[in-house]
């Protein structure tokens, strides 16, 4: 296990390097002058030159990149071009917000999905089963930005039960979390059902049934434990996916998360913020994937490292 972790962490480095290089170069070759953005339309050429010099934007590309790499290794992510505050100051609160949203939505979606999948599998082909799978399918197929809009129209505008967006308390998290969780719910429900069905048909389950063990005990003790494995992996993967794909939901709900920060910063050509946030999000994603693998391995006694 130690070797696996080591190998995966080692793999992390070239990935981060590659991504960083790609983002770095991309941001600088696209049109759009950050100095102009910082100064505003009525700044003269002398002011622009001064700003560019201040941020080292007039240096050759490889020099800029080299400097940036060294800084990152020292833990310095630079300053936002727009606000001149440390990049980490901008990123961390937003990353925190998105992580919170991701945890909340994944947790409840997984719990509900698990429950639904188990019951659906136990009552195979019943009305409940069909309906649950239909809802799950809808959850997977509905684009998050559409679901968010519909929820806003129904719950915030028409029924006035929830705020239409923004931040400021637990209640602001609910609609976005539901929106984000919809696809996880669908995936987990379907996966659990499939997994449970596979397990429920295994010989040892039939044996238990023949021995007279109660159905409920069979489901809970024997089937569940084994069916859980792929679901755990999927949930962990979904978490990573949600962390990255939250931008659409954040936009719809004006939620101050990392996805929105990235899109905004790309818009504003705020290079240090873009680089720093993509770096951190990727780092977290890869760690989450690693955790998923480990979790899977831990839960399944058949897998050895």
């Amino acid at each position: 296990m130690g070797r696996l972790i080591g190998r995966r962490l080692l793999f992390l480095l070239p990935v981060l390097f590659g991504i960083l290089a790609a983002v770095f170069v991309t941001m600088r070759i696209v049109p759009g002058d950050p100095a102009r953005l910082v100064a505003g339309p009525d700044a003269g050429p002398e002011e622009l030159a001064a700003i560019r010099h201040q941020f080292g934007l007039d240096l050759p590309l490889h020099v800029q990149f080299g400097r940036y790499l060294l800084d990152v290794l020292r833990g310095e992510f630079g300053q936002s071009l727009k606000t001149q505050r440390p990049v980490l100051d901008e990123i961390v609160p937003r990353l925190w917000n998105t992580a919170l949203l991701a945890v909340l939505s994944t947790f409840f979606a997984a719990a509900l999905g698990l429950l639904a999948g188990i019951v659906a599998a136990a009552r195979r082909n019943s009305t409940f089963d069909h309906m649950t799978m239909a809802v799950a399918m809808l959850g997977v197929s509905t684009p998050s930005f559409y679901l968010g809009i519909v929820l806003i129209v129904v719950f915030a505008v028409m029924l006035r039960l929830f705020p239409a967006g923004g931040s400021g308390g637990l209640i602001h998290l609910i609609l976005p979390a539901v929106t984000l969780g919809a696809s996880t719910l669908g995936i987990v429900a379907r996966m659990t059902r499939a997994s449970m069905i596979d397990v429920l048909d295994e010989d040892y389950i039939r044996t238990a049934r023949a021995k007279g063990v109660r159905e409920r005990v069979i489901v809970a003790r024997h089937a569940l434990r084994n069916a859980l494995l792929p679901v755990i992996a999927v949930v962990a993967l979904q978490f990573g996916f949600v962390l990255a794909g939250s931008v659409l939901v954040e936009t719809v709900f004006s939620f101050p998360g990392i996805g929105w920060l990235i899109v905004e910063s790309i818009s504003m050509r705020d290079f240090p913020v873009v680089q720093g946030s993509i770096l951190l999000v990727t780092f977290v994603s890869v760690l989450v994937n690693l955790a998923a693998d480990l979790l899977y391995g831990y839960a399944d006694p058949r897998i050895k490292f």
């Binding site: 070239p14 941001m27 197929s141 069905i197 996916f241 990255a244 659409l248 990727t282």
Partner: protein, 287 residues
């Protein structure tokens, strides 16, 4: 395409399984419906999707405008019908790019082996490690807005899945007698890949294609939603949804319709993909 003689009976059995699955058939029907809409929509549309009439702005559904009018007085129904072509075109283009690039990379990597294989598959892993949607955003930001660039961005995003499937299938086949025989007969590398290995990858690739279509449509319209895709006045569904947000309270019909269209398209491909998976791999989801 030569069908290996041993698989003709399973193919017929797969078809039977497919047709028995009502959800799968529904998916197929819906996909065909959208393909027809993409092909013939513009002819059937009652109005010019670009014709604006400012004083009719935001009108609700009526006899002459079945789904109402948007913020510039344009007919929503006509825009939806024209938009099908754009959404499907983008999705198919992106998927073809992904499949083409991915399969090529996967096959070459598996067949050549050694250092090249390592490098290529590592590259695939890097692309995969990149947080999904962000990769697409980064690519589109680099290339500039526009539906073609969106297709490229989404294609790049989806490529790893195909690469991996092609790679693992080719790897499995590499040491079979089938391939050894072909090589013994003097066939060259590319020929072996094309005539012998590729046909056997086809089934999982087709399944992957349909399974990923849903995601492709969502990412593509998501990018347009963020303003990075189709340019105005193009009636792309994601872009329509985005502009409709400003009118959520005054004219909700503007947002409900295009969103529903996207949902149904994604649902169609998902049902179809599910159906295909079950038909070809009967062990899953026995009922």
């Amino acid at each position: 395409m030569p069908i290996p003689a041993s698989s003709s009976r399973p193919a017929a059995a797969a078809w039977r399984r497919f047709t028995r699955n009502r959800a799968a058939v529904a998916g197929l029907a819906l996909v065909l419906f959208f393909l027809l809409m993409a092909a013939f929509g513009p002819w059937v549309a009652p109005h010019d999707p670009l014709k604006q009439q400012l004083d009719g702005a935001l009108a609700g559904p009526s006899w002459s405008h079945g789904l109402g009018r948007d913020e510039l007085g344009r007919d929503i129904l006509s825009r939806i019908l024209h938009g099908a072509r754009i959404s499907l075109g983008m999705a198919l283009g992106a998927s073809l790019i992904a499949a083409g690039a991915g399969v090529t990379v996967g096959l070459v990597a598996a067949y050549r082996g050694g250092g090249l294989e390592e490098i290529l598959m590592r590259l695939v892993d890097v692309v995969l490690a990149f947080p999904g949607f962000l990769l697409a955003i980064a690519v589109v930001s680099a290339l500039g807005p526009g539906i073609v660039n969106v297709a490229v961005a989404v294609g790049v995003n989806t490529m790893p899945g195909f690469a991996r499937i092609a790679h693992s299938t080719a790897h499995a086949m590499k040491e079979t007698e089938h391939v050894a025989a072909a090589r013994a007969l003097g066939n060259s590398g590319p020929r072996i890949l094309w005539r012998h290995i590729l046909p056997n990858c086809l089934a999982p690739i087709v399944v992957q294609f349909t399974l990923r279509m849903g995601t492709v449509v969502v990412i593509g319209s998501g990018l347009s939603f963020l303003g990075l895709g189709a340019q105005p006045p193009s009636p792309e569904w994601g872009a329509m949804l985005s502009t409709a947000r400003e009118y959520l309270r005054t004219a909700p019909h503007l947002s409900l319709v295009p969103g529903l269209a996207i949902l149904l398209l994604v649902l169609a491909w998902n049902l179809l993909g599910d159906g295909l998976t079950e038909a070809l791999n009967p062990k899953l989801n026995r009922s």
